[in-house]
């Protein structure tokens, strides 16, 4: 009997011991639960540089997932490949009380190619495991160890990588056992509980009790709001070769010497095609355009995620043969084509994305940048080429890479340059229409929409749509607020040379006019109603920014039937403030003809959070004035 007691006690201790490490949900401080879908309980990255070409990376992470919105934390994903090996990996799942519910076996991990749809990156692989939760909250614990010969890419520290995620404790350490200069850069360390210890041979730091932050419209990405640390070894090894740099210029030199070393050539077939295509063309820009369009017609883009496939582009020869590649491969290929016709072209590293991000000016490292484009230093201008989009006009970047600092790799080394800014005044969408009102209550007519600048970017993909999909686009998407819309054939005109996109449509809208007794109401802004109210924040935390300005202009000629007479036109409106401007007027041209004019412009700018409610109010006003009505009557006046 006693024995049993003892056994029970031992068992109980074991049980407790098992649940101890306080993975229990209840042990999370309540301050960390607010806005949190997941809580990082304990995370650590420890990196040891053992030799110029030997680095050990140990990662451990324990995350409690509170609800299904936190499920993005339920995966363990480990990249490996030619230069990086997985030494060990372990994953355990715990329930809400911190009791183990699943130990993941090695056969449970999936091992797949990091890139689907091509064989180019056959050696970039992912091992991953995704837990399918049966109940919330639960905790995932994982740790793995990697060994790599690539010391150029030291993982940086981003202790908070998602919105709505709290961090109880997260640490980071890099120990450099081989001497040599070693750089680090802290970002946004202020306002957080952070300890850091910097020595000549290493850094270590930790973040404690970080309460989850939530998404706010127009406040940019998470990177600017949370702490991070970037680390870089001045001398390192990458892909089997040694290298070193301490500024962006040297970074460029190193790229030239070690990364962009491919000297394979284009096939004879390609060479002859390109030469034939450009023969006799004197103008450098024109030759470049022909070559760019040649590439677009021939190549296919396969996407490769950041950090996969390394930073070395595929050989030109291979890209030429396979007719596909990722951004790096397509850029070196296009560069080679351009050089063939004597157009200079530079390889450009950029941080791409709708959200504009640049480079750390004084902190060169391989980890920055996620995309490659080309820079053509022509006589009169810099031309920039996006080589992964097969429909983009020559020299057009769009909102993926515009208006930001990039690293241009020239023969002389790296140089920081800025990509073009699309200015508000040029980012215009022009809508011109003729609308005929009918006594039956329907309206019909035709409309032409012309987009330029950054607005071109939002329209030109329509070119790839067929008529059926176009109809769907206008009915279910672009004009989803219009009921009973019938469209004739859509004509599109893509002037790539001038970057102007035109859409022409004829339309009929049944029951558009609303009648009440003898009065008839016509909603004047038929084609470009602003409908989206900016999200309301009871307490806004971050300042806000409009990264790109734009301007919409409408001119609509309205003709009313003879049986109708005018009762009233809406009052003229003109609002102008720091956020932009809005003006609207309806002018009587003749008894039966009216002219509606509207301008709505939103400026590029950075504003303090206190101004957000004014901004919201402005937009709400616009929405209201976009509902303005022309009032007619069937009565004889």
């Amino acid at each position: 009997m006693r024995k049993y007691h003892l056994l029970f006690i031992v068992f109980w201790i074991l049980l407790e011991g098992n649940a101890q490490t306080s993975y229990a949900f209840d042990s999370i401080p309540s301050s960390l639960l607010k806005h949190a879908n997941a809580i990082v309980r304990n995370a650590s990255i420890s990196i040891e540089v053992l030799a110029l070409d030997k680095m050990k990376i140990k990662v451990k992470k324990i995350v409690t997932i509170k609800n299904e919105l936190g499920d993005m934390h339920s995966s363990v994903v480990v990249h490996y490949g030619r230069n990086t090996k997985i030494k060990s990996i372990k994953t355990i799942i715990y329930d809400r009380n911190g009791l183990e519910i699943k130990k993941v076996k090695s056969k449970d991990y999936k091992d797949v190619s990091a890139v689907s749809g091509g064989t180019l990156y056959g050696d970039s692989r992912i091992q991953y495991y995704t837990y399918i939760p049966v109940d919330y909250p639960y905790t995932i614990y994982y740790e793995y160890e990697l060994q790599t010969s690539n010391t150029a890419l030291i993982p940086n520290w981003y202790p908070v990588s998602y919105m709505n995620t709290s961090v109880e404790y997260s640490s980071y350490s890099v120990q450099n056992f081989i001497g040599g200069a070693f750089k680090h850069l802290n970002k946004n360390f202020e306002n957080f509980t952070i300890t850091s210890d910097i020595t000549a041979t290493g850094v270590s730091c930790s973040l404690q009790d970080f309460s989850a932050i939530k998404e706010e419209e127009l406040s940019g990405g998470i990177k600017n709001k949370v702490p991070s640390m970037l680390v870089h070894l001045e001398s390192f090894s990458a892909y089997g070769t040694k290298g070193s740099f301490s500024n962006w210029n040297e970074f460029g030199e190193w790229m030239n010497a070690s990364i962009l070393t491919d000297n394979s050539n284009l096939s004879k077939h390609t060479i002859s095609e390109v030469l034939a295509l450009t023969s006799g063309i004197e103008n450098e820009r024109e030759r470049a355009r022909l070559v760019y369009e040649y590439m677009q017609g021939k190549m296919r883009y396969i996407s490769v995620q950041v950090g996969i496939g390394g930073i070395q582009p595929e050989k030109v020869m291979t890209v030429d043969r396979l007719a596909y590649g990722d951004c790096k491969g397509l850029c070196v290929y296009t560069k080679k084509l351009l050089e063939l016709v004597n157009v200079p072209a530079h390889y450009v590293v950029v941080q791409a994305g709708r959200n504009i991000e640049g480079f750390e000016k004084d902190f060169p490292s391989v980890e920055q940048g996620n995309h490659i484009i080309l820079n053509l230093p022509l006589d009169k201008e810099d031309v920039w080429l996006e080589c992964t989009n097969m429909n983009m006009p020559f020299g057009f970047l769009g909102d993926f890479t515009d208006d930001r600092n990039v690293i241009v790799v020239t023969k002389e080394g790296g140089e920081i340059k800025k990509t073009p800014t699309y200015k508000t005044a040029n980012n215009v969408q022009l809508t011109i229409a003729e609308v005929f009102l009918s006594a039956t209550g329907s309206v019909k007519g035709n409309v032409e929409i012309t987009s330029t600048g950054i607005q071109y970017d939002q329209h030109f993909h329509l070119e790839m749509y067929d008529q059926e999909r176009l109809q769907k686009h206008y009915k279910e998407n672009y004009w989803d607020y219009i009921n009973n819309l019938t469209l004739g054939a859509v004509t599109l005109e893509n002037d790539k040379k001038n970057v102007v996109f035109k859409e022409g449509l004829s339309f009929e809208i049944g029951g558009y006019l609303q009648s009440m007794d003898d009065k008839v109401f016509f909603d004047v802004n038929v084609f470009n109603k602003f409908t989206r109210v900016p999200k309301k924040y009871r307490e806004r935390i971050y300042n806000f920014e409009k990264q790109r300005g734009w301007r919409d202009e409408e001119t609509i000629k309205i003709e009313i039937p003879n049986s109708y007479s005018l009762v009233s036109v809406p009052k003229e409106v003109e609002i102008s403030n720091e956020f932009g401007l809005y003006s609207m007027s309806l002018e009587k041209v003749s008894e039966k003809v009216f002219l509606y004019k509207r301008i709505f412009q939103l400026n590029k700018g950075v504003y303090s959070k206190e101004k957000y409610k004014h901004y919201r109010k402005f937009i709400k006003q616009v929405i209201k004035y976009d509902q303005s009505k022309l009032v007619l009557t069937t009565r004889k006046i």
Binding site: I132, D135, Q467, D480, V533
Partner: protein, 666 residues
């Protein structure tokens, strides 16, 4: 008329004039800029040939071989996905694996007016293991250009005597598709035709031979073996089905499972008739299928086990008064005790005992535990077989027709359905995934019958607003929204994980025209009651003033403004899952210095055959305007032929609820 026949002749002539031998891609095919019948498509299957036949070896008996030859035209870059082929096949170590071999694959392009071909390199076919049972062979064709043609052939060899569904329709159109199915007389299959498009077929019989070799040692004088062989002649039933110019499948809103409408033929093995042996019948009726399932140890056998829950059940029984209370108690207990691991299945995986102990299980485990516990407590409870929405509607009786189990409590006519896999599900309010077709209840005495799964009771949302207009032209008041049965289930499933703050944010976003001052949600976890969401609001944005007249929408900030049905035509039924109703009761108090100029007239709209109805009543009395609006769809599924009517119904309804109340300041 003549023109049409001529045209048809021409088409069939063109279709037959093509050379469909592998590699004989024509210049015309490569030069074709767009699909002739629909210029908008990105790719088209120029030709697909499938032959499925049975082969015999003495060691393995009959096995099934399917040979496929596909030629696909890629018109533009959007169509490049069609140059990647995935072939899924069954691999099981215990019962025998299928084998796939890609014999040849080429890309054809036109270069300087000449046809050039590029072979898929050796090693270009990748193997991916999906899970324990399924694998995939994947390959991507090289050297694609706009306008190129890709072509391949592969073979699938299966030890299973089944014939995979013949698909005739895809998300891209098909110029010509032909299938030839050759079945030895010993195997009898049932066929079922699915979809809206017609195909042409012919059937005939041909002969086949099996050669059996016998090894004989009976000869005394010889030391070696003697081989003798004998031939068995048998009949092969051949079926050829073909179609020229098959249109692509369409994408539409409110379609639960497109496979229900894809033009295809399904095969079911119904019996095997070997000469001189009794006929072996396979499941042929749903009753049969049900019996087979019940007889399976992972179903019927697991259902009989009860020792594992005895103790817990005793405790539950003690505290329960009447039978209904006991059912609810056991239902809630199982929900809490065993959580769903996300897997469907007719059969248990690890078994009910393990699931019970571990606290997680698949659908069969959870709902068989529930059935067994209810039965043991003296309640009439039976498993009900279900095919989920993603599983589609089975076309003939097979075990594979079902993939899910729920529980039916009670006797004929009064059966209440339970599903313990969904936390927020209540009796007769099942998760959306199960609202498909009909269920098959299997009783303890081995009888079975159909039970409807699509509920008759409407999923219900009821809005109540009481608002007051003040002198500053502000409207303020209260909104109370009641979500009942399936609407409540959906609300709880999507919103219960949110904190108070997050919920308030969602509400803010849902109602952008009002300022929400206070929000409260009642009965979030009390699942036997409707969810009630209460708000206090104020708004300056609900009035519109034109020339001194004030206009107000009767439903203020509620009610739809746009028609969800925008396209002109519809091919597939509109599938809501269940009938539904939304009601609005609004009262607006008008201050004394306003007078009511006009209110919208009351109206009632009804769709044919009682499919749906709309009612709007507006009354004014002593300075208060009362509005009542009710919108109902009385069926979960509306046939596509009624689409125009539905669209027009929505149009008229929207016009009505967007009419205005007009006031004037006096």
């Amino acid at each position: 008329m003549k023109k049409i026949t001529l045209f048809l002749c021409l088409i069939s002539f063109l279709a037959t004039a093509q050379n469909y031998k592998f590699g004989k891609v024509s210049k015309e095919e490569l030069e074709e800029q767009f699909y002739p019948k629909d210029s908008s498509v990105n790719a088209a299957i120029l030709f697909k040939n499938r032959r499925t036949y049975f082969d015999y070896t003495q060691s393995d008996g009959f096995f099934v071989i399917t040979e496929v030859h596909e030629r696909i035209k890629i018109y533009n870059k959007e169509g490049y996905d069609w140059a990647t082929k995935e072939i899924r096949y069954y691999t099981s170590s215990s019962s025998g694996s299928e084998k796939v071999t890609v014999s040849t694959a080429k890309t054809f392009r036109l270069e300087d007016g000449k046809i050039k071909s590029y072979k898929l390199k050796k090693g270009g076919v990748f193997l991916e293991k999906e899970n324990k049972y399924w694998s995939k062979k994947i390959f991507t064709m090289p050297n694609l250009t706009e306008g190129c043609v890709v072509e391949w052939k592969y073979k699938l060899i299966s030890p299973y005597k089944g014939i995979d569904k013949l698909n005739f329709q895809y998300s891209i159109p098909v110029k010509r598709i032909q299938c030839k199915i050759e079945i030895p007389e010993y195997y009898i299959f049932n066929l079922r035709y699915i979809g809206f498009e017609k195909t042409s077929s012919k059937k005939y019989v041909k002969g086949g031979v099996i050669t059996i070799t016998n090894k004989d040692r009976s000869n005394r004088w010889m030391t070696g073996s003697v081989f003798s062989s004998s031939d068995i002649n048998y009949k092969i039933n051949v079926m050829e089905v073909s179609k020229d110019f098959m249109p692509a499948l369409k994408e539409e809103l409110y379609v639960s499972n497109i496979n229900n409408y894809r033009t295809s033929i399904k095969f079911e093995l119904s019996s095997v008739r070997w000469p001189n042996r009794p006929i072996k019948n396979f499941s042929k009726s749903w009753d049969n299928v049900s019996k087979t399932i019940l007889a399976n140890s992972s179903f019927g056998g697991e259902l009989k086990k009860k020792l594992y829950f005895k103790k817990d059940l005793e405790l539950l029984k003690v505290a329960s008064g009447n039978q209904k209370e006991l059912v609810d108690k056991i239902f809630n207990f199982v929900k809490e005790k065993v959580k769903w691991n996300g897997y469907n299945g007719l059969y248990t995986d690890k078994g009910v005992k393990v699931a019970y102990k571990k606290g997680t299980g698949n659908i069969a485990e959870i709902n068989l535990i529930l059935t067994a516990m209810l039965r043991d407590a003296g309640i009439t409870a039976n498993p009900v077989l279900v095919s989920t929405r993603s599983h589609g509607v089975p076309v003939f009786p097979t075990i594979e027709g079902f993939n899910y189990v729920v529980v039916g409590v009670g006797e004929k006519g009064g059966i209440v359905l339970l599903d313990a896999s969904e936390k927020y599900s209540t009796p007769d309010v099942l998760p959306f995934r199960t609202l498909n077709w009909k269920g098959r209840i299997i009783r303890d005495d081995k009888t079975s019958s159909w039970v409807p799964l699509i509920p008759l009771e409407h999923s219900k949302k009821e809005y109540m607003i009481s608002a007051v207009l003040n002198d500053n032209e502000e409207l303020s008041g209260f909104v109370r929204t009641k979500f009942s049965n399936r609407a409540a289930l959906r609300y709880r499933k999507t919103k219960n994980a949110l904190s108070e703050d997050e919920l308030l944010e969602e509400i803010d976003e849902k109602y952008e025209d009002i300022d929400v001052l206070l929000a409260k949600v009642k009965f979030r976890e009390d699942i036997y009651k409707p969810v009630v969401e209460s708000l206090k609001f104020t708004s300056e944005d609900l009035l519109e003033e034109i020339n001194g007249d004030v206009f107000i929408k009767p439903l203020l900030f509620l009610g739809e403004t746009t028609n969800p049905f925008k396209m002109d035509e519809r091919v597939y039924p509109i599938d809501y899952g269940s009938p539904w109703t939304t009601n609005y009761k609004v009262s607006i108090k008008i201050p004394g210095n306003y007078k009511v100029v006009s209110i919208p007239e009351s109206v009632k709209l009804e769709m044919e055959e009682g499919i749906g109805s709309f009612l709007m009543q507006v009354k004014e009395q002593n300075g208060t305007i009362r509005i009542f609006v009710s919108l109902s769809m009385n069926t979960g599924m509306i046939h596509a032929s009624k689409y125009k009517m539905l669209k027009d119904f929505y149009r008229d309804m929207l016009k009505k609820i967007n009419e205005k109340i007009v006031l004037k300041k006096v």
